[in-house]
Amino acid sequence: MHFKKNKNASGIQIPFLGYIRAGFASPGEEELSETINLEQYLIQDKDSSYLLRVQGDSMQDAGILDGDYVVFQRTTDCKTGDIVVALIEDGYTLKYLQKTSDGRLYLEAANDLYEPIFPRDGQIVGVVVSTFRTYHK
């Protein structure tokens, strides 16, 4: 992981207490003086970013779950393997952008229960840059 440091940045600075290994006890002592600016960490370009809320489980293997928020950037600059936001007949959806061997673009879920989508019309409006969820009540 890499964090940009910017002393003058606005927003909330949260102290970074090191890495933890899920399942193993780990000494979390490295880089104790670091702070992370959450806004900068979650948002790359604040002037083109928008939020969506996820409904459904088609992206669960990418770690994007039902109820999560995703930040996406409106852009035309996306490549295969990106998680893109597409606006299709039913509304917004998130999927991996993929290409068939003969060069056709399609949308692929991160869940084996879902078939690939070859959208007839619709457009890719942006690329997902981060996702977050909270556990507080």
Binding site: L52, R53, G56, R74, G91, A109
Partner: protein, 431 residues
């Protein structure tokens, strides 16, 4: 043009852009909610008139200022929305920010327009100024999801002509040699900066179009005592660059008015409760006004009934103010003109209009200023306390019952530069 002036312009050409959001408020609403794309969207519901409307609504015959009743007649499928100034400000700020990536010389002219000087930018190899300008337009449209009319010309007056030339989503370049063809048909009263009285004055002197005006000579200008601002326009029509961009970010420029409203469920006829809601609207609007350093010369407050009928009162204030106490006094006087004890209400709201910069507030002769000023001081202390200890540490007693039963905190939108506001645009279906 036969004027010798035109052929002998001494200095190098400037490249000035005017960037104008197409049907901006309605377009922002469509960017917020994709389901509104391609539909006749109208904002200004809280005022009971069309403040802004999408091109789809315009095509149906909706005009500026049209009343709700008439809109429903000419366009029954119209989607009428309350203005969401917070969101329009977010999009405006994004527009300025994005243009500033291309040039530092940006004038924030209004909430949906800016000027930019790209004369001295370092152009990527082989790129023309026009191509550079076109890239700015494309980038804005991609990042904001709305379209812009963009004009490139040697000065501000002509850039404004260019951006209006083709709508929506137009891109027009006016070169010096093309000026005549652009202004020949342009009626004088449509020229930016020439108001009703001035265009009347000019028409009495036989000037019907911008071209008629542009070809007048110095002697004519002197004899007819044309004042400096109009002389500048006259010079710009001849291709000169006269009107400088004011590139200092001015806080008041992106807020034409301040609107705060709140819908409460269930609808109620509880006079005290409704008044306290309105009181809170006023406090929040005033907090925003003070943050931007502006005072209001006129207000409108309204109540919306459970049947979606609006009752509102417009009040011109004797003295510009941003003090909630002053405004509450006024609103209290007129409250019963809109309130009826047998009616259920669901929304209260206030709009602060005719905003002027604090320094420009004129002092009156009869001591009213002094009273108002001392209460201004109280409120700047309140703002400091609220900044230090969190919003609504200190508030007016009349807002008390509103604060106790509301989800105010989560709705509050913060000071615009301290927080990054990311528009929420809906649900992503992953099923």
């Amino acid at each position: 043009m036969n004027s010798p002036r035109l052929s002998s312009i001494p200095h190098k050409s400037r490249y000035i852009l005017h960037i104008d959001g197409d049907a901006f408020f309605a377009s922002v609403e469509q960017a917020k909610n994709h389901k509104l794309k391609g539909k006749p969207v109208i904002t200004g519901l809280e005022r009971g008139i069309a403040a802004a409307f999408s091109y789809e609504a315009k095509a149906k015959g909706v005009t500026r200022g049209m009343r709700i009743g008439e809109i429903k007649k000419v366009c029954p499928e119209a989607i009428l929305l309350d203005s969401d100034y917070e969101m329009y400000c977010i999009f405006a700020r994004r527009m300025y920010n994005i243009v500033r990536r291309y040039t530092p010389h940006v004038e924030e002219y209004s909430i949906d327009e800016c000027f930019a000087d790209i004369t001295d930018v370092t152009l990527p190899h082989g790129m023309t100024h026009a191509e550079y300008a076109f890239n700015i337009k494309k980038d804005l449209e991609m990042k904001l999801g709305i379209t812009f009319g963009v004009g490139l010309a040697p000065n501000k007056v002509l850039a404004k002509v260019a951006s209006k030339h083709k709508k929506p989503a137009g891109f027009t370049v006016i070169k010096k040699e093309d000026i005549v063809s652009f202004i020949k048909q342009l009626p004088i009263h449509k020229v930016w900066g020439i108001g009703g009285a001035m265009s009347m004055y000019l028409r009495q002197r036989g000037i019907e179009t911008a071209y008629d005006f542009a070809i007048k000579d110095d002697a004519w200008m002197r004899v007819n005592q044309i004042a400096k601002p109009y002389k500048e326009i006259w010079l710009e029509f001849q291709g000169y660059f006269v009107k400088e961009l004011s590139t200092a970010a001015s806080p008041a420029s992106d807020i034409g008015s301040i609107m705060k409203s709140r819908t409460f469920t269930p609808a109620t006829s509880d006079r005290q409760f409704i008044f306290s809601q309105l009181s809170k609207n006023i406090e929040m609007a005033c907090e925003k006004a003070r943050f931007h350093g502006v005072s209001s010369r006129a207000i409108t407050f309204y109540l919306k009934t459970s049947e979606f009928r609006y009752r509102s009162v417009e009040i011109n204030l004797p003295l510009a103010t941003s003090s909630p106490n002053e405004l509450l006094k006024v609103v209290r006087q007129y409250f019963d003109q809109v309130y009826n004890a047998r009616t259920l209400y669901r929304t209260s709201g206030i709009t602060l209009r005719s905003l002027i910069e604090e320094e420009a507030v004129t002092r009156d002769l009869f001591g009213q200023s002094e009273i108002a000023e001392s209460s201004d001081k109280v409120f700047s202390v309140v703002d400091d306390l609220n900044k230090t200890f969190g919003s609504h540490t200190v508030f007016l007693g009349s807002s008390m019952s509103a604060l106790q039963k509301s989800d105010y905190e989560s709705k509050h939108v913060g000071f615009r530069e301290r927080r990054i506001n990311i528009p929420f645009v809906g649900i992503a279906l992953c099923m």
